[in-house]
Symmetry: C2
Subunit: 395 residues, 2 copies
């Protein structure tokens, strides 16, 4: 059988995180490993009402095949939300996708030939690495830190590599939680303005801001070179698999061809439910609830971090999203940390899978969106115990 | 911008059918062009009840992220249906996809390198051509006729080409409506048993049989070489985008990696609704309703065919599904027929897009599932008028 598989699929390794998540699904384990939004915050009653109203109204053909681009009234709501933020985006520049993960797959399909260079944040979102790896992208990692991308490395890499794409999550990045400052964005935009490279701004967490000021989209600086990815998975529900791509018209034409070949169109029934929900409810009010819970969770996790962890363990600051990014002392690897933590019934994700071709990474990711504050406290206590022992044994 | 696009997307031409369907959406036009199931037969009340029950029960986490393989109880129902038909298929050999179109995309991803040979029925399903074209497959067409594939051509092609895949729709094929006889299936299986080629059996219409006996799946003859694609789009509703792949374990592992990179998982909410619907309703009773309506539509179309069309126009026989496949006299092309028909407010699909590298094709496809019998009568009357004139002008 093996000789039949394509080169692209043969070179992709099974997801390490997938394996961790399988272990972490044991209910005795406190999991900081996943990236799940809180179940308790799903707007169940409002979605139920929207669904029943939709069935009763019987206005739309909610069960039939539909167009590839997606439900127009839903795309109009997305466009209007951008307009409120000062971005002049129209519904016909928006394609509805199965979560933003499909956006990544379609962009890979439309742009990446074997060994084409793609610049990517390091650490970077694993789902993007997986999606582009299937199209045999040549990844060039650009380090990100507390305030954004390393501009010097970016400039050097752009001089030698003809990168088609640069992938970014500039708000509350997965995995590091950091956001690019406006200065950093401006410097990136200036650097990119002279090259033929498209920037992907993946923004699943941008609306979940606990503090600080909203930053400017790359679309402000580079309207012709920016592709936006959006998602309702973190602000409404993930199971509907509803996200979108905003792209220039020439790109959109190709994306629609790729989308049609991929699955004809996204689930139309749920597009209609979501549209109804957004029409009848104020999304911002709902997002404010999410912000209130997650920011409280994060505060509890930070407090427990100080209380239970060895002082050599540090974390980057975040003003939103779902993750804290922790570091052991330099030179120490978190490779064995996950196994040790599982023994104490707490799960984390070690940093390594988020890096391109790097090993012996000293970072790990902690999710704070999907546990109650008291559970966070207990999980951090357990993890603290593990860390003291781990550092002692690895020094 | 153009220099940034991948080779794979640059070589795909926009769908001709897509353009026809846009024109055919004019309500003044009677459309035999699409491949839509009848809106009137959607089990709206039962799906509404299943949805409300699901919300009320609050047993499953219907709004959260879930596993890539798909909702296990739904896969168990699919497996049980195969077992009733004598096929020993387990839930863990089934992957839920966004319609069977995504099954085609994932198979392309997992198997096809640039210029890999893929055998395909001629005429063949356009969605399969599009899906595999994106992975730059080298298509080798194998003619199909009233009773199935041309075995002689198949044998000759298999001798010279190392084809990884052979794509078939053996029941009520799209576009031709024909089914492979059991003898033809056996002969194909014998031919394939000595080569390292996987056969894809795409079966969206198999349950919609009006007459004749159910034929044997290739899985009976070639259990280790057969990949099945299934879909609820024609038997329940298309807008949920729910289909599945059955594949050997080694293939399934690769498909799951590809599915995860493509969109993490299929809409979980609708998987739960569909499962509930299938649990609380007898699908066969519902399918019998579909069969009753479509077979009546088909009979009406066949009668009108004789009544209104020039006698030189013929069609293949079908015992189910949604299409009649018509032919003009040999040597005549249907290329201009679609435009002439649109002028008379009736839409068809000319045969050409269903062929690989062939032009001046004399066939066209008529859909009978999505029009009321009286509308079919009127559409066929209009089309008859067009055909008399068209044949006269093209003789």
């Amino acid at each position: 059988m093996n000789e039949l598989f394509s080169n692209r699929i043969s070179q992709v390794s099974p997801s390490f995180i997938r394996e961790i998540l399988k272990v972490a699904s044991d209910p005795a384990i406190i999991s900081f490993a996943g990236g799940l939004p809180s179940h308790d915050l799903f707007p169940v009653a409002a979605l139920k009402k929207a669904t029943i109203d939709l069935f009763n109204d019987n206005k739309e053909d909610i069960l039939q095949y539909t167009n590839t681009e997606g439900y127009l009234p839903l795309r109009e709501i997305i466009a209007a939300t951008y307009k409120k933020k000062g971005l002049d985006i129209n519904a016909d520049e928006i394609l509805i996708t199965n979560g933003s993960q499909q956006g990544l797959d379609l962009l890979g399909k439309v742009f990446i030939n074997e060994n084409d260079s793609v610049l990517i944040e390091e650490p970077g979102y694993l789902g993007a690495i997986q999606a582009f790896e299937i199209y045999a992208a040549h990844f060039i990692p650009i380090p990100v830190g507390q305030d954004g991308m390393d501009i010097d490395v970016l400039k050097i890499q752009l001089k030698t590599a003809h990168a088609k794409l640069i992938y970014t999550v500039p708000n509350f990045q997965n995995p590091s939680g950091i956001s690019y400052s406006n200065e950093n964005r401006k410097a990136i935009a200036e650097t990119l303005s002279s090259v033929n490279t498209l920037i992907i701004e993946d923004n699943p967490y941008g609306d979940i801001r606990f503090s600080g000021e909203e930053k400017k989209s790359f679309m402000h600086y580079l309207p012709k070179q920016t592709i936006l990815l959006g998602s309702f998975s973190k602000t409404v529900v993930p199971s509907f698999r509803l996200g979108w791509i905003v792209a220039p018209k020439a790109v959109m034409q190709k994306l629609v061809i790729a989308k049609q070949a991929a699955d004809l169109h996204t689930n139309h029934f749920c597009q209609c439910i979501l549209h109804r929900f957004l029409q009848d409810n104020d999304l911002q009010t709902h997002i404010n609830k999410i912000i209130s819970v997650y920011s409280h969770n994060k505060a509890r996790m930070e407090k427990a971090f100080v209380k239970y962890f060895p002082k050599e363990v540090t974390h980057l600051k975040t003003q939103g999203g779902m993750f804290l990014w922790a570091s052991l002392p330099k030179g120490m690897s978190t490779k064995g940390l996950s196994d040790e933590a599982i023994k104490e019934k707490v799960a984390i994700v070690p940093g390594e899978p988020f890096y391109i071709n790097k090993h012996e990474i000293n970072t790990f990711r902690l999710n704070f969106s999907n546990s109650h504050p008291d559970v966070i406290e207990e999980g951090m206590r357990r993890l603290g115990k593990v860390l003291y022992k781990y550092i002692e044994n690895n020094e």
